[in-house]
Amino acid sequence: MTIRIANAAGFLGDSLDAPRRLLDASSVDVLTLEYLAELTVSILAHQRRKQPSLGYARDFLTVLDSIRDHLARPDRPRIVTNAGGVHPRACVEAAARRLVDQGVPELRIAGIWGDELTDRLDALRAAGCPLAHLDTGRPLAELDRPVTSAHAYLGARPIADALEGRADLVITGRVADASLTVGPAVHHFGWAWDDYDRLAAASVAGHLIECGAQVTGGYSVRWDDVELEAVGYPIAEVDARGDAIITKPEGSGGRVDRLSVIEQLVYEIGDPRAYRTPDVTVDFTSVDVRESDADRVAVRGARGTPPPADYKVSLAYHDGFTSSVQLVVAGRHCVEKARRTAELIIGRLARAGVTLDRVHIECLGAGESVPGLRPCVHGLQRLEDRQDRSPSEVVLRVSARDRRRDAIERFTKEAAPLITSGPAGLAGYAVGRSASRPVFAYWPTTVPRDLVEAHIEIRTARQWLESAADLPPTSERNDA
């Protein structure tokens, strides 16, 4: 007896075709859609400030339309997603509208909220919670920039409860990514919340599928050996022990093998002996990974211990503005020419009285996108058999950050004049002037569990619309 849990979105912006393709090709019990990177939450909060009815993953609505026929089936998969972003109620109501319009008004939608702490920070501090930075230990009171969003990572429990309440769709705000998988598994098998080995095993499965195609051959250094055009998104067949087979739809592209699974196992983790979620602390060094068949990998034996006493909190603050300009720089000595061009931009700004807080120069094409691209031994000595060959063109990218928006906008105006007043061999002005945008910096912290309470509301799509009609628009309501 297994439960088949698939994931067809690994971030906001992932393929809009993937969910429908997956359901066309495979029978699954649960389809998860994961949209919320740390930065995505900041951006959604920014969108909501500009337009109060927004703040959720609108891609999810497009996906709902695309899988309408699957949702109308009697054996339809349940959908579990964090598409709610920083405004899950608005997402639920927009999804309800789509389902009614699509002729499936009796589907039941659960909304889960309570993760948002943005308006509660003063009260939390008054209650003795310092919201100290996890790396530096500095209390939040020392931050002299405005906080733009703060959300606790909820766990699997409200998701399991929503499924117990016969929800067809579960829409959450910030929850731990792996909990999107753990919740359905707990509901299906009826595990206890202190059955840590099973929770750990299901968390490993959730961690493996949460980034979509990254476990089925995507973003692999073996790119020249994997067919990726029709890449299949992952399916975890979770058994009663929590152990799982990781696989993908039959006939799809990509590959699931030992390396593709382990690449994702170690993705964005710290200490592998203590991978912390709100549900369980997982020991990744206890996991056995074994190929069982073509494109099927068995992941077994995870051990778990109790989760941390506090919820992790993702908090963002406004930290000035940023922009970048890019120019194509061609010809002999183009790297030196690009550097000289960047100096012209900075020097002319200085003459205009503008000194920017931070400037970063990259000559893309010369190996400057990341350190360590050049062949090195111990990072110090260059190999004689791989001597540098000067490129014949590079892209100059100059980016800047400053507290003052007007300083950043002044910076973006320094690229165009170079067409007549810089060196010969520059091109690429046609894209127009770069836009400036706000910077959202990240302040990881924690909050005691008893100060956060998840709320679940379950209604049919039709009932959601009726209840929304009785209330002011979502833009004027507080979702606390």
Partner: protein, 120 residues
């Protein structure tokens, strides 16, 4: 200073696949032996110091290494490698995605112990 030649060193990419990502202002770098028999060589030669030296100009101030012998993998945390993290970094690679690709170019002394490199 003697320049080591290709015959006395081996490129990490021949022995391991790599993947990196962001953890706040830090980068995590996973290194997985292409063949399980290469793991012992990686444990011996791919030290935190060598990773720190390879990525020295990133601003990384400390590297911590974790071993996962069950899956023949090493996980490295590169602290403060990201120039402010995904939101604040001014780099093209705001999320540290390219560190894994760059790690493929790291060269290790071959030594006397043939580590079972992938062919080609």
């Amino acid at each position: 200073m003697t320049e080591p030649s290709a015959s006395t060193t081996i490129r990490l990419g021949e022995l391991a696949v790599t993947r990196s990502g962001d953890k706040g202002n830090h980068v995590n770098l996973g290194v997985i032996a292409r063949r399980p028999e290469s793991y012992a060589f990686l444990v011996r030669e791919l030290t935190a110091d060598r990773i720190l030296a390879h990525f020295a100009s990133s601003g990384t101030d400390r590297v911590e290494r974790f071993e996962l012998p069950n899956v023949q993998a090493l996980n490295f945390m590169l602290y403060n490698a990201l120039d402010g993290g995904a939101g604040r970094s001014l780099r093209s690679d705001t999320q540290g995605k390219l560190f894994g690709t760059a790690a493929q170019e790291l060269r290790l002394p071959r030594g006397t112990d043939p580590p079972g490199a992938a062919s080609g």
